[in-house]
Amino acid sequence: MQLERELNPGKIRKEPRKKWGNSQKIAPYVFVFPFLLSFVLFFAYPLVSAGVMSFQEVLPGEVSFVGLDNYKALWNEDFGAALYNSSRYTLWTLLLLIPVPMLLAVLLNSKRMVFSHFFRSTLFIPALTSVVVAGVIFRLIFGELDGALLNTILHWFGLPSQKWLYSSSLGMVALVVLAGWRWMGINVLYFLSALQSIPGELVEAAQIDGAGKLRRLWSITVPLLKPITIYVVTITIYGGYAMFTESYMLWAGKPSPQNIGLTMVGYIYQQGFQYFNLGFGSAIGLTLLAITLIVSMVQLALTGMFRKEE
């Protein structure tokens, strides 16, 4: 104020300008307004409306309440297949994409590792591809022809060709390999950045105390990685149950044989946008919501329990 008065003697004001809701009381609400608007319009309203629709049969120009019929209709083979596939996919991605990247990060972080930066970038490159492009590639790698890449490799070991995308377990292998390829580098980076914040003295102290390499890894590094591990587990579960495009690309947008590639979101897409069962589709959506909430809660309870032990 003082300064302004000196610089602009002609424009003396008692207070800073008041226009545009310019006060410390109002400004924060202006700043957060975009979120509030977006939240109400594009999140809360659709969520409530999904809840309502799940009890309705929605036909063009005609909406009627059908009680719990949509939820009762969930008890069918397709839903079972979708739930089974999504859960199985989530489990396998967890098993592949937590311990392996953690180990790779520990190796890359080791003082003995040379060209660490180069490898970190190289492992990261698959993350730059879209799921669509990755899907195109892996669809071909897992091709059923004798000359397709993976079958060629099988032949080297004297194994017969496989029809990869026609069987439930082999199809799952294709999905998990695709996910592993795209996500490995990102998860390695998460663990690496957490490792780099571990103070070196801690490890050295343990070394002086005579702790071996494995012992140091298990008793110092792994526990210190817990916060980032919880985060990576959370996004992996989230991504696992939300998976759609991978399966859409591998099976060319058509129903996979015996629904081996049907996922929860794929089922919502199929019912909502291909058969226009908006009510039933919403019921699937809300069931998916319940499942993800339960899984998250279980995970939080487990990690909370670990905290008590410490």
Binding site: W20, F35, F39, A50, M53, L128, G253
Partner: protein
């Protein structure tokens, strides 16, 4: 001295083993991209007949597949239209997202006001719930708002995204509040303080979020697939996926189109590696 030298040699041996391991891993990770690139140079009939392989049949190689795209033959007629749509959507989405989510993050991080904790909780709730759950009502809403089959229909529902807000908030929490008071003393409005003083200070966060949102938008599939109804409006991923049909694949356009979708990203990655790595791992910031 001798002991030291001995130790050093042992270190070299084990780092050699590690080096070898990572070289093999790197080859494995890059192999699918190499296979795609190689396939894009071979006649599509090869691919159709024998599947994806890595035989180097130099006499067979040509740029014919790329010609399909550049001449806009058959299903590839719209390829560059899709490219343009993807560029426009990515640009608008990223710019708007930067402006809006930085504002919200700044508001939540810099000010103490009634409802702040509640709003931040709502941000976390949105972050925790998969959007796929509300696809159907969101689709109906998009129709009601007359946004179906438009660029804005793709952009608006997700432009104020929770993860960037969260990231900006964390970043802003680490900025000194003294600058605000200094700005006020100089007669800056609250918004002037934000645009003139704080935005420059938030530059590193802007860098990371630019990459995050641009990549999300460039690669986004499910929502544009739902919103965009006509071929002319498709984005690149939707267009590429449309080459894969139950009736048979348009391999020429599919393979070369996929290479051309990934190529610009790879080139940008070479120059802005650090930003890519920061941007795609912003979720890891400590809460």
């Amino acid at each position: 001295m001798q002991l030291w030298a001995g130790k050093k040699r042992r270190i070299t041996a084990s780092s050699l083993a590690m080096l070898l391991f990572f070289v093999l891993l790197a080859i494995l990770m890059l192999f699918p991209l190499y296979a795609l690139f190689l396939a894009s140079l071979k006649p599509a009939t090869e691919l159709f007949r024998y599947g994806l392989n890595v035989r180097l049949d130099v006499p067979l190689m040509s740029l014919d597949n790329y010609k399909t795209i550049f001449m806009g033959e058959g299903a590839a007629a719209n390829y560059f239209g899709w490219y343009k749509n993807s560029l426009i959507i990515t640009l608008l989405f990223t710019l708007l997202s930067l402006l809006l989510s930085s504002m919200v993050g700044y508001g939540l991080g810099m000010y103490r006001f009634k409802g702040r904790a509640l709003i931040f909780t709502l941000v976390l709730v949105v972050m925790m719930i998969p959007v796929e759950i509300i696809l159907l009502p969101l689709y109906k809403l998009t129709i009601t708002l007359k946004l179906i089959n438009t660029v804005w229909g793709v952009i608006l529902p997700f432009v104020v995204a929770p993860l960037p807000i969260f990231f900006f908030r964390q970043f802003v929490l680490g900025l000194p509040k003294d600058f605000m008071d200094a700005g006020r003393m100089d007669g800056c409005s609250e918004y002037g303080i934000y645009f003139r003083i704080m935005v420059p200070l938030m530059a590193p966060a802007f860098g990371a979020i630019t990459i995050l949102q641009a990549m999300n938008s460039w690669n986004n599939f499910l929502w544009p697939l739902i919103v965009l109804r006509t071929t002319e409006q498709f984005t690149l991923p939707i267009g590429l996926a449309s080459f894969v049909t139950p009736l048979g694949n348009n391999y020429e356009a599919l393979i070369s189109g996929a290479v051309m979708a990934i190529l610009p990203i790879l080139v940008l990655f070479l120059f802005f590696q650090r930003y890519f790595i920061e941007g795609l791992t912003v979720g890891g910031v400590k809460g």
